[in-house]
């Protein structure tokens, strides 16, 4: 197992390096700079001398290869640089954003799994029924709604009309604040999971070993519980892994809408003020999250499916 993890971690390095390069080059040709973003409000007249000093301080007037070299060599020592905007190390800018993001991703996935998997299951157990059709139409619909639109509607209904939940924000140790953004973010993976689960269950239900189990006299509940679930889980796990892995990046819009202090909203804010070190750092976190989750999924595979070995 350790060997597997080590190998996977080593395999991540070229991917990460490629991501760093891609983002670096994109943002080295991006128009606008941190300095020009400072005056975008039109409130302050900016003194040219002050601008020049800031330019020099951030190394913005170095040539691109020098900046790249500085960045990569810093990265090798786990130094992500200094944020132009806050003038703090990027790690301490990213740090506080990590947990809210992880929380939101996990909550959204929990919602998606808790609703999507049972729905998919129930639909598959009565294929062709009204329930099945309704579930699948709902699922396709869930994949077809713009998410900020959905978030806004949730806000209006559950926060304003019904007053059940707070409409925005992040509170340490509060699950109530998590509910609406998690649902808004979770609807599309939920729909995907419902579909995958349904297809998976139908697939497994047709498998020979299910017929064997029936021939053994296994009861339907036990059949679903002991024979189908685990086999479906193997199929569903891939979808779940990919979804939760990309949720951190997909959360941008929802984080903005719900004023959620995650990596996604940090990324958008940093892009708009051209705080490149933070943009780099945030993308790196999002990518790492994806890679690590996928590694964990592979490990989980091995635990669930004896056919797969990770050693």
């Amino acid at each position: 197992m350790m060997g597997f993890v080590l190998r996977r971690v080593l395999q991540m390095i070229p991917t990460i390096l490629a991501v760093v390069l891609i983002i670096f080059f994109i943002f080295s040709v991006v128009p606008g700079s941190f300095l020009t973003s400072l005056m975008a409000e039109g409130r302050n007249m900016t003194n040219a001398d002050v601008l020049a000093q800031m330019n020099a301080q951030f190394g913005l007037d170095d040539p691109i290869p020098v900046r790249l070299w500085n960045y990569v060599s810093g990265l090798l020592q786990f130094d992500l640089g200094i944020s132009y905007r806050t003038r703090e190390p990027v790690t301490s800018v990213l740090g506080p954003r990590l947990w809210p993001s992880v929380q939101l991703a996990i909550a959204a996935m929990t919602f998606a799994a808790a609703v999507g998997i049972p729905l998919g299951f129930m639909a598959a157990l009565r294929p062709g029924s009204l329930f099945d059709s309704l579930t699948m139409v709902t699922a396709v619909s869930g994949l077809s709604v713009p998410e900020f639109w959905l978030g806004l509607l949730l806000m209006y209904v559950f926060a304003l009309q019904l007053g059940w939940l707070p409409s925005f924000g992040y509170q340490e140790n509060s699950l109530r604040h998590l509910v609406l953004p998690a649902i808004a973010l979770g609807v599309s993976p939920m729909a995907l999971l419902a579909r995958t689960t349904r297809a998976g269950v139908l697939d497994v239900m047709n498998a020979d070993f299910v017929r064997t189990a029936r021939a053994k006299g296994v009861s339907e509940p036990r059949l679903v519980r002991a024979h189908i679930t685990r086999n479906v889980l193997v199929l569903v796990l891939t979808t779940m892994g990919l979804q939760i892995g990309s949720l951190m990046g997909q959360a941008i819009v929802i984080e903005k809408l719900f004023s959620w202090p995650g990596i996604g909203s940090l990324l958008v804010d940093s892009v708009s003020v051209r705080d490149i070190p933070v943009v780099q750092g945030a993308v790196l976190v999002i990518v790492l999250w994806f890679l690590v989750i996928n590694m964990l999924v592979d490990i989980a595979y091995a635990l669930i499916d004896p056919r797969i070995k990770v050693a």
């Binding site: 064997t212 021939a215 006299g217 296994v218 002991a226 056919r307």
Partner: protein, 307 residues
């Protein structure tokens, strides 16, 4: 009817696709006596497997039994509550299938899958059931059964898996075993062993066997009586010896004539008898010599058939 007291008696069994669809079985009548081995033979699509599945109550939608009765002892299986019928399944009437590669749950250990039988039908707790599972593995002549009980299906060969299937099917000493093409998917070299095992175990326990096969050689070796099916009808039923020596129905005659022989080209009815590519030794019968088929002969026959 040769015996007044059959173990299982099927009357006018009709199976249909959906409610209005075509009929698959057109009124099958069939009796299986306690302890006997009854062979059901026919081409693929003739309805032999459907007959077996109907008895088990494992027809898959949209197939359904539209008429008839299946009596096991005194009860009509078709009128039984699902729960009661499930209790019989595996316990009194068991079944093994053609595909040992896929018939076992890939993510559960062999031991667990056998032990499950004791848990659901005998009410044993899991540790006890697992011990019984090891014994069952031993009885189907799986070497080092304790180790194998912990293994997963993908770690076993096809023949081993079919032995595991047999262990599962016979775990509760059923009265009837329905064996649907139990050796078709197996390597020829292990077919004999598996058939021999079924035969020995069932004879020892007095279990009746409904052997479904397209392989006349297997039928000839294993069964006392044979029924021939064609397009959803049971067209002939005779003692094995009688059938092979004096087939009554023209279809049966064609079937027997179509047997490929060593060195000869397959002729007549080839188009429909595609599955028949093995050799029935003339007058072969009895249980001590399950088959005389040699691997080389089969390969030759196969080569011919595909040529």
């Amino acid at each position: 009817m040769p015996n007044p007291d059959p173990l299982l008696s099927v009357r006018d069994l009709r199976v249909q696709v959906g409610r209005r669809g075509p009929q698959i079985l057109h009124g099958i009548n069939l009796d299986i006596l306690p302890g006997e081995t009854y062979g059901l033979v026919g081409e693929s699509g003739s309805g032999k497997s459907v007959t077996g599945l109907s008895i088990m109550g494992l027809l898959k939608r949209p197939l359904n039994v539209s008429a008839g009765s299946i009596h096991y002892q005194d009860q009509n299986l078709l009128k039984l509550a699902p729960r009661a019928r499930r209790r019989l399944r595996g316990d009194r009437i068991a079944m093994i299938f053609q595909e040992p590669m896929t018939a076992l749950n890939p993510v559960a250990s062999i031991g667990t899958q056998i032990a499950e039988m004791f848990v659901i039908h005998r009410g044993l707790d899991w540790p006890a059931a697992r011990r019984r599972a090891v014994e069952a593995l031993d009885s189907v002549q799986v070497p080092s059964p304790e180790e194998r009980a912990r293994a997963y299906p993908h770690q076993l060969s096809g023949g081993m898996r079919q032995r595991v299937m047999i262990a599962i099917a016979l775990a509760c000493r059923p009265d009837l075993l329905i064996a649907d093409e139990p050796t078709t998917a197996l390597d020829v070299t292990v077919q004999a062993g598996v058939l021999k095992l079924i035969d020995e175990l069932c004879r020892a326990e007095g279990t009746a066997v409904l052997l479904v096969s397209h392989d006349l050689g297997v039928i000839a070796n294993m069964c006392q009586r044979v029924g021939v099916m064609d397009r959803g009808r049971l067209i002939e039923e005779q003692d094995t010896v009688a059938l092979f020596s004096n087939p009554l129905h023209p279809y049966t005659r064609g079937l027997l004539a179509a047997r490929p022989r060593l060195g000869s080209r397959v002729e007549g009815g080839r188009k429909r008898l595609t599955e028949l590519e093995e050799i029935v030794p003339p007058n072969a019968r009895g249980h001590d010599a399950p088959t005389l088929v040699t691997p080389r002969g089969v390969r030759a026959a196969r080569a011919e058939a595909t040529a």
